[in-house]
Symmetry: C2
Subunit: 200 residues, 2 copies
């Protein structure tokens, strides 16, 4: 038996709990950005995914608060650039530490003991400790109407950095990557319990 | 040591392998749609996620082939409706069976031994055997230029159906849900190996 919820008849908080509980596991985009005065920002987003390989696009969605953009979204749009840092078990505690609401002037890299480094294609700061990093240029944005509605940022991936032990040519070794996915609430899942299904 | 790939200097196939290998685990949106003549369609998309709870939005991205939309995207746009069916371990083989390229006139529900059922808010067919189903109305679309580029379909979730044993109020019990995530190639991951991290 299934229970039915009409979304128009339940609280937004319950809709959030149901959707974030059912749409799992979500990949984590740990988004690095830089403000025009050089302050670095780093925060995790699980409303994040790959969209296509041609062009190579990723997206992340950031809710607004009273019509105000979150720092990551604001700085990505302002600078036209952001990084995506892949979250493995090794860096998951540091990722969690960056999910706090820091004042805008705080550099989450410094605050959370992470090393910022830079690629060749963008000026967006990346997490040296993460097993892989993507340099992205903002491709387009979709701003949904409403003071609490999200802005969706599409980014074109211009460079991909991967720790060598994680690579087998251009294949990714998932045991070596050890990526973490987001569930709901305080929950996370590893990618350690996996299996293969042959494509039909 | 990390290896750097400039995306402009590598093959699209390798970009695909790297990005789909690194952006993991991805939730699977098993998308149900109906053509105007009543033929039902069902296919899995892992370029899929939740976007927001206010409004309650999900998205999926479907690549075009020679400028042609995939069936799921075409029928969703045509009818203004689609369902998202959550993939658990119990239905993962059936999900994989629906990933084949069937001719447009084939009903994947019938072909793959799945039961179509309908909710109260849309006419999009849903998978009875899945542990949860979302009824969605197309909210907006973004069509990226290019014959092989994706169309992104944003859907507003208007009803949520969840198997009762998976629910604890409006909380989702992840052990009972037993959701499956997408890795790259033939790879999948369960959500069985999980842990909690307190929000800082």
């Amino acid at each position: 038996m299934k229970k039915a919820f009409r979304v128009s008849e339940i609280e937004a908080r319950d809709t959030y709990k149901l959707l974030s509980g059912l749409i799992v596991p979500r990949p984590i985009g740990w988004i690095g950005t830089m403000r025009s005065d050089g302050v670095k920002n780093l925060a995790p987003y699980s409303f994040f995914n790959m969209i296509a390989d041609e062009p190579p696009l990723v997206m992340f969605a950031a809710g607004k608060r009273n019509g105000q953009l979150k720092d990551s979204a604001a700085y990505a749009i302002e600078s036209g650039e952001f990084s995506v840092n892949i979250v493995s078990a090794e860096v998951v505690e540091a990722m969690n530490a960056t999910s706090r609401s820091f004042p805008p002037d705080v550099d989450e890299f410094e605050e959370c003991g992470l090393t910022a480094w830079f690629g060749t294609e963008t000026g967006a700061p990346m997490v040296a400790e993460a097993p892989a990093n993507l340099e992205c240029k903002v491709y387009s944005t979709v701003d949904f109407e409403g003071d609490e509605s999200p802005v969706v940022i599409f980014g074109e991936v211009v460079a991909i950095h991967v720790r060598e032990d994680v690579l087998d040519g251009t294949r990714v070794d998932h045991a070596a990557l050890d990526a973490i996915g987001r569930l709901a609430g305080a929950g996370y899942a590893t990618t350690r319990d996996g299996f293969d299904l042959l494509r039909p």
